[in-house]
């Protein structure tokens, strides 16, 4: 009688202990983001008081507007609005290109047999070891010759030509689809394009969504690409524009800097809250099948 009793007390203590540790860690993880928000909505002088003031004396939501419009008088446009529009346009193009091209290539690697396919796939995986910095100089030269430097094209055109990681992800997913359906369609004289478009693609929506999410994050976060190719401030992306703002402003108006940082972070967070399950499953799959 006594033994199960003591075991359950021990288990309860253990559970309580785990929760205590988890709650403590959660506070540590959330804290920087809360402080970011708190700083973003307070008056400048309250960012530099000791002891720190968590709740501002007044909520200055106007900080976001001010961050959006800083320097707009001299520039003639609202910089962060412009950066935001640039980033959205680029991101949409990159996501579209990534999903379309890698779905096609993934289908070829997963469902079609052709000589040299396995070697080509191995080579594709090996390209993940090629660091971007080694390609930087020749790519810059190449795009210069195309007359593309200073435009968005070096940033989005390559997205339409496949990338190893997404090809790999989609190939794994396509291979897990039973091929009875496509075989039957093939016997009925269905073209490969129709099999891909009407059978495989509709069944693969979750995997395609994961690839879209990852490429959204990659495009939204990209810094080195815009830094390399964009020259006119009006064509900057949010990441590049925020860096320019910080180095010009000397890093002093912390409330505005945090507001601008939240503007960049916002869309990513919103996407996460709507597609949490896809995010978590997508990441899990990348590691497990690897």
């Amino acid at each position: 009688m006594a033994k199960p009793q003591s075991l359950s007390t021990r288990q309860m203590l253990q559970t309580a202990g785990i929760h205590a540790v988890l709650i403590l860690l959660s506070v540590a993880f959330v804290f920087p983001l809360l402080w970011m928000l708190s700083t973003a909505i307070k008056p400048l002088d309250e960012t530099m008081v000791n002891p720190p003031q968590w709740i501002p004396s007044e909520f200055q939501w106007g900080n976001f507007q001010e961050a959006f419009n800083y320097n707009s008088d001299t520039l003639g446009y609202s910089p962060f609005l412009q950066y935001g529009l640039n980033t959205i346009a680029l991101t949409l193009l990159i996501v579209a290109g990534t999903v379309i091209s890698n779905a096609l290539v993934g289908y070829s690697f997963a469902c079609l047999k052709w000589p040299g396919r396995e070697v080509a796939f191995g080579l594709t995986l090996a390209t993940m070891m090629v660091p971007f910095p080694v390609l930087m100089v020749p790519l810059f030269d190449l795009f210069q010759r195309f007359g593309w430097v200073g435009t968005f094209r070096p940033l989005w055109v390559p997205a339409f030509f496949g990338s190893a990681f997404s090809i790999y992800l989609l190939r794994q997913f396509f291979r897990s689809i039973p091929n009875e359906l496509s075989e039957a369609a093939r016997i009925d004289g269905c073209s490969e394009w129709r099999i891909f478009w009407q059978i495989i693609a509709p069944l693969s929506k979750p995997a395609l969504a994961v690839v879209a999410l990852f490429s959204f994050n990659g495009a939204w976060n990209d810094f080195i690409g815009p830094l390399l190719y964009l020259q006119d401030q009006k064509s900057f992306t949010l990441a590049l524009g925020l860096q320019a703002y910080q180095s010009q402003a000397g890093g002093t108006p912390w409330n505005l800097l945090m507001a601008a940082s939240l503007i960049v972070l916002g869309p990513v967070l919103i996407l996460f809250f709507f597609a949490q399950r896809l995010f978590i499953q997508g990441i899990a799959v990348t590691g497990i099948k690897g």
């Binding site: 988890l22 860690l25 530099m48 070829s108 070891m129 496949g162 490969e192 912390w254 972070l265």
Partner: protein, 292 residues
């Protein structure tokens, strides 16, 4: 025969975006970089053949050594620490805790924060005078907390702290790996009298080893090319070039000093290092990796 060749044509057609992309955006620039690495090139004049001079210069370049030492010492701390921290968090969450998805979301979200926001946020948190971290340290009686960002001894540890905050992505991968471990294995280990730590050591970690290997390789590939975060937070690797990393020197050589050949040689050294380290970690851990 006819069916096979038709399928071949379709296969190549579907793969054609990548075949073109691979040739134009990967193979060509990679080989071109190899060629440029054997030349002097400043983009204005045609490349001048110099043989292995760039590589020999690299070998003697003290700034290059410094950037290498910085890169590897940062990786030597951030990789194992993130690994231990990520696995520990995943183990904690793998105890059938209530509210798992909430905790998981909390630990995961920081890893989503865009690099540029991350840089701004931590510049503020680590600020010497008004940063909340130093205010808190003073509050608990440390009268002289480090000036994280302007102290050459503390800027790398600051980056390590930031990388630990972003451990959520790896944690999700570990957690998924843990959830694949069959419960029966734990039960039989328990019957054999294994305590919680022995269970982790004997059952969990071996079964998690493919996932650990994956994260290790991705970590090595990523940490050798660290660029954007230190570039924004520590222009020029300041103070005292303590955070001047490999990729930053490469960038400066190419686009500040206009030494494209030299930068290309650095790029190839980086590529070969990543290649060698990946091969070594595949070979080494294949002995220890358990594939179910």
């Amino acid at each position: 025969m006819k069916k096979a060749s038709k399928e071949t044509i379709a296969g190549l057609a579907f793969a054609s975006p990548w075949i073109i992309g691979f040739c134009v955006f990967l193979a060509y620039p990679l080989l071109q970089a190899l060629y440029l690495s054997l030349t002097d090139y400043n983009t204005l004049n045609a490349p001048v053949w110099v043989g292995f001079d760039n590589y020999i210069d690299l070998f003697k370049d003290e700034l290059f050594h410094k950037s290498l030492v910085n890169t590897f010492s940062f990786a030597a701390f951030s990789l194992p620490l993130s690994m231990i921290f990520g696995i520990s968090l995943a183990l904690l969450l793998n105890n059938q805790v209530k509210g798992l998805s909430l905790y998981r979301a909390i630990f995961y979200v920081p890893s989503l924060v865009p690099m540029i926001s991350l840089a701004m946020l931590w510049l503020w948190l680590f600020n010497g005078d008004y940063g909340i971290i130093n205010i808190a340290l003073k509050g608990i009686g440390i009268s002289n907390p480090p000036l994280w960002l302007s102290d050459a001894n503390w800027s790398k540890p600051a980056l390590v702290v930031m990388s630990l905050w972003g451990v959520g992505n790896a944690m999700v991968i570990y957690l998924a790996g843990l959830q694949n471990v069959p419960v029966s294995l734990y039960e039989s280990a328990e019957l054999d009298g294994a305590g919680p730590f022995r269970k982790i050591w004997l059952v969990t970690l071996p079964l998690l080893s493919p996932v650990i290997q994956f994260n290790l390789i991705m970590g090595i590939i990523g940490s050798l090319q660290v660029f954007a975060l230190p570039y924004v937070m520590f222009p020029g690797g300041a103070p005292d070039r303590a955070t001047y990393f490999f990729a930053m020197y490469l960038w400066d050589s190419a686009f500040v000093n206009q030494r494209m050949g030299y930068a290309s040689a650095m790029g190839w050294v980086m590529f070969l290092m990543i290649f060698a380290l990946t091969m070594v970690s595949i070979k080494l851990s294949d002995k220890g990796v358990h594939y179910s």
